[in-house]
């Protein structure tokens, strides 16, 4: 176990904090403040994975979120796939292994907690580096509410990884003082370890805070592991920095090849040298600084290979002072080595294409810098426009969105002094836009910098080589995408980078083109002989870096995923073994199985009880809307298809609601409670939609109507008491109620005392039997239910669920909205023309019944189906055809089954169906082709039970 790669001093690591970890089965040691990547490098481990398609060894390539190679799977303390070693903070006991492109989700549930916060601020600063920190300081100085989010474990960004002094002192000292000053301001919220990953309309940004990931097994279980921040910002300063671009040459993927800036960060921030003998290949000045910092750290830099014919003057002189050879107008055209680079092949750029005249330079580290791509991801997500900057060879922000500004390297500013100035200006301007003026300009530290020379973008270089050409010139290391793949795409006719991306998969891995995107565009441009500027980029979409679904779900998991609504009688249903089904958010008993019963047996028994003696059902979930006001009757006349204003106080009328296109939207009953008070019931699933519907028409079309609507669904508990003996049971518990047929007729309601409880009793039936719906205050619901169960015991009362309710109503052809209808069905289609008033001047949907399409003779209408084999249960949704022996497809479909059950009363199966010209087919046979067989069924009138309604009055 060698730690010979760790420098004896320097860096931001905590040497006193020794951490043990295991990678690919080998035990290693690292320090507090390490990432997994820096700790691996300190142990001499470069190779971390094998590439997904070509099975080539791959090493650590970057030092941050742009890492394309070092995908790892954490195994301990909790399995987590697809993390990058460069962003995993080291902790004691970490166990990880390298991934070849694919990870493994844990089988066990994640024990950690995830949550979310909503935050508002005047100014959100994204990134706390050379531009972000001064932006935050300048904004905070004005007294504005500021949030500063940075993805790293500590603020400072690039400033933590350079040796340039600020005000003559190490940059980290200035960072420390700045952070301290920000932390002391009450209106500033600092969010380290927080990646802003999405930027949406109205300056709404999403960020992921990693709160305890870095603590490993020591993470306190009560603290959420990760937190999503939903931030609404007045102004946003995007100080997101830049990503260094790799260069495309033969065998540019060997371990030991690394971005120059990353190597600089490893040496300066983590006190790790990633090699002993380095060759630097660059198109710009920044790699010179890296070379110098590595030289300072004891690395022998054998050569700087600069693509520019005249390299940076000041830098070149400094190199000469340190004895570093600078090869101007040269390029690295290839490498040697297997598990690690052993040599770089260097050629003059003019010869490079020919593959002639290259010489081999021994090295164990090859640093590359193809320039810098501003991290424009968030800017672009917010629909900011980009332009290609030839000088930088990169896309830079062009036109900012209102409320946003981009500062520093994120908009192509390269020099440190300019980044500091740019950030401060952006922060002050953003705060000013929110009404906060700075008392005085922010004092900025002095920086000594060498003058900058222009870079020379280079997209691909060297000898195309073997078969096919360019197949070892990697563009996307994670996807194993090569320049040859790009040429194959352009050869197949692709002209857009979006098409090339999808054809080659270049830029589609976890890093989403951070290293490969612009490089790929450059290769496409060369292939097509067009300018990169004319090609544009692929679209930047959230998230900026991968986010775990668990974090997005937050607390909305398991029982908290969606509200669960239960009735006041729910506990009784649970205690009596009900099987439940979800109806919208409601949990409703579906059936109450007795010992040894399956659903079919329980439902047949429950139906028999309702038809032969007495049964009861919890119907509290039905929507209930109270309408009050002098115009309530007029309003109901306009929304229901029939007349409601003539219902007498004490009476009830069934009604259907249609949408303006004449299609059935909901149905229910309307009680008249007083001259100016009505109660409308709705289906369970549509309660909210019907209230919304009423409100929409009242507010937007008929504001002159004096009507107020109030949902009272949960104020009432309602029990349906059903069956020929229901009157006896009710009379037993409501002695003061005149329940006889004449005193209490069908479709009326009475106030009564039931089992000692104040109740509103309605004679309504959704089964065709004599039946009552007893409404009491919600908190009395359970007492009422238990009293009815006790009173009905001698009659064999049975509770029944939604399944039996469905069968009972289907036997009577009472449709269920949303099951027998689907938004294309009119009342006439349901055989309910009688519910549509011909007297009313207008109501919602009326004009549509005259539309030609709704008058077609071949519309699908509701019919009954009796399978020829009375044991055959047709599946709901089954398509129907006219012939038993269908010809080759396409076969005309004439309809479909909407409801299908076994009937205790009929002693056989039956179904409801919507069938073209159904009423002309009564008595005919239709066929349902099912997998492997065809089922014949006879079309009947849909009312199959008690067609004369004789049972209704008991």
């Amino acid at each position: 176990m060698s730690t010979g790669w760790r420098l004896p001093s320097g860096g931001r690591i905590r040497r006193e904090e020794a951490l043990r970890f295991t990678f690919d089965g080998d035990d290693h040691r690292g320090c507090g403040g390490d990432t997994l990547a820096s700790a691996l490098l300190a142990n001499g481990v470069h190779r971390v994975s094998t590439s997904i398609s070509h099975h080539r060894p791959r090493g650590i390539f970057a030092a941050g979120v742009d890492e394309p190679n070092a995908l790892v799977q954490l195994e301990h303390p909790f399995p987590e796939p697809m993390l990058t070693a460069t962003t995993v903070e080291l902790f004691d006991g970490l166990v990880a292994r390298g991934l070849s492109g694919r990870g493994r989700l844990p089988r066990e549930p994640d024990p950690a907690r995830y949550d979310a916060m909503h935050a508002h601020c005047d100014v959100l600063v994204v990134g706390a580096g050379a531009a972000g920190l001064p932006a935050a300081l300048a904004a905070a100085d004005t007294g504005a509410r500021v949030i500063v989010a940075d993805e790293q474990s500590e603020f400072g960004g690039t400033l933590l990884g350079i040796r340039d002094p600020l005000d003559g002192a190490p940059a980290a000292e200035w960072v420390g003082a700045a952070v301290e000053r920000l932390a002391g301001r009450p209106e500033v919220r600092l969010l380290p370890r927080t990646t802003v990953f999405g930027c949406y309309d109205g300056n709404y940004l999403l960020a992921l805070e990693r709160r305890t990931d870095h603590l490993g097994a020591a993470a306190p279980p009560a603290v959420s592991r990760q937190r999503i921040w939903r931030i609404r910002a007045g102004e946003v300063v995007l100080a997101t920095g830049a990503h260094e671009r790799p260069l495309v040459f033969a065998d540019n993927d060997r371990p030991g090849t690394m971005l120059a800036g990353a190597a600089r960060t490893y040496a300066n921030r983590y006190a790790v040298v990633p090699g002993r003998r380095a060759v630097v290949f660059t198109t710009n000045d920044s790699a010179y600084a890296a070379a110098h910092d590595l030289t300072h750290a004891g690395v022998e830099v054998v050569a700087i290979v600069d693509s520019r014919p005249q390299a940076a003057g000041a830098w070149a002189r400094r190199c000469a002072d340190h004895g570093i050879e600078v090869l101007q107008g040269h390029a690295v055209v290839g490498t040697s080595g297997t598990d690690r680079v052993t040599a770089a092949h260097v050629a003059e750029l003019s010869d490079a294409a020919a593959g002639a005249g290259s010489r081999s330079v021994d090295c164990d580290l090859l640093l590359v810098s193809g320039g810098w791509n501003p991290a424009v991801h968030l800017f672009s997500q917010a629909q900011g426009r980009l332009r290609f900057d030839d000088r930088l060879g990169a896309f830079v922000p062009d036109q900012e969105q209102p409320g946003q500004r981009v500062a520093g390297a994120a908009r192509g500013v390269l020099s440190l002094a300019e980044c500091l100035r740019d950030g401060a200006a952006a922060g002050a301007a953003a705060a000013a836009r929110t009404g906060h003026e700075a008392p005085s300009p922010l004092p900025l530290p002095s920086v000594a910098e060498l003058p900058e020379s222009p870079s020379r973008p280079l997209w691909m270089v060297g000898d195309p080589g073997g078969d096919p050409p360019w197949h070892r010139h990697f563009v996307d290391l994670q996807r194993d995408g090569t320049a040859a793949d790009v040429f194959r795409a352009t050869g197949a006719g692709m002209r857009s980078v979006e098409h090339v991306k999808r054809y080659t998969t270049i830029g589609t891995s976890h890093e989403q083109g951070k290293t490969s995107g612009v490089a790929a565009a450059g290769v496409v441009a060369e292939a097509l002989r067009v300018a990169v500027a004319d090609l544009g980029t692929t679209t930047f979409r959230p998230p900026y870096t991968p986010v775990a679904f668990a974090a997005l779900a937050g607390r909305d998991r398991g029982v908290l995923h969606d509200p669960v609504r239960v009735t006041p009688i729910h506990g009784w249903h649970v205690r009596h073994g009900a099987a439940f089904e979800n109806v919208g958010q409601w949990q409703r008993p579906r059936y109450y199985p007795r010992r040894g019963e399956d659903m079919a047996a329980a439902v047949l028994r429950e139906c028999r009880a309702a038809r032969e003696s007495v049964a009861l059902m919890d119907v509290s979930t039905l929507g209930k809307i109270e309408l009050q006001g002098p115009d309530a009757g007029e309003f109901l006349d306009r929304v229901y298809t029939n007349v409601m204003s003539t219902v007498a106080v004490g009476s009830i009328r069934y009604g259907v609601l249609c949408t303006a296109d004449g299609m059935v939207f909901d149905d229910g009953t309307v009680f008249r409670l007083a001259d100016d008070r009505f109660l409308a019931t709705t289906t369970t699933g549509n309660a909210a939609a019907v209230l919304d519907w009423f409100e929409e028409w009242l507010q937007t079309e008929w504001p002159e109507l004096a009507v107020h609507c109030t949902s009272v669904t949960e104020q009432w508990a309602t029990v349906a008491l059903v069956g020929p003996r229901s009157r006896d049971v009710l009379a037993g518990v409501a002695p003061s109620l005149a329940a006889d047929r004449e005193s209490f007729p069908f479709m009326t309601w009475r106030d009564a005392t039931v089992a000692g409880i104040a109740a509103r009793v309605a004679r309504i039936s959704f089964s065709g039997e004599l039946a009552y719906e007893i409404n009491v205050a919600g908190w009395d619901g359970l007492a009422l239910w238990e009293a009815l169960v006790a009173a009905g015991a001698r009659s064999g009362v049975a509770p029944y669920g939604t399944e039996a309710m469905h069968v009972l109503r289907a036997e009577k052809a009472y449709p269920i909205v949303g099951q027998d209808t689907d938004g294309t069905v009119t009342p006439h289609d349901l055989g309910m023309g009688w519910i549509v008033s011909k007297k009313k001047r207008d109501f919602i949907g009326k004009r549509s019944f005259g539309r030609p399409d709704n008058r077609r003779a071949d519309r699908k209408v509701l019919v009954g189906l009796l399978p020829v084999d009375g044991d055959e249960l047709l599946p709901e949704g089954a398509q129907l055809v006219e012939v038993a022996d269908p010809p080759r497809p396409p076969v005309p479909m004439i309809g479909h089954v909407t409801s299908s059950y076994r009937s205790a009363a009929l002693g056989r199966t039956f179904a409801l169906a919507l069938v073209q010209r159904g009423r002309e087919r009564l008595g005919q046979t239709v066929y349902a082709p099912l997998p492997g067989r065809i089922v014949a069924a006879t079309v009947t009138d849909p009312v199959l039970y008690d067609p004369d309604g004789a049972r209704r009055d008991g």
Partner: protein, 92 residues
Amino acid sequence: MLSVPCPWCGPRDETEFSYGGQAHVAHPAEPDALSDHEWSDYLFVRDNPRGPFAERWCHSAGCRRWFNAVRDTVTHSFLAVYRIGDPVPEIS
């Protein structure tokens, strides 16, 4: 996510609102006087402009009130909000 300026509650997140489509499409006073074509225009045909668009919103998880807004369909920015029944404001 849009920040929708409810005229009664102030700016609130889009998730509190429901969308009501194009504004100023009144239910015809005399539907029977319309041809089938005119009636189907009312039912089904709406403008789909690029730029300012007068549309209906309801603060359904807030004050539950309907209001009208002019929104730029390109930038998604709200240019004006106004009450149901008021005319479309002049957008400068």
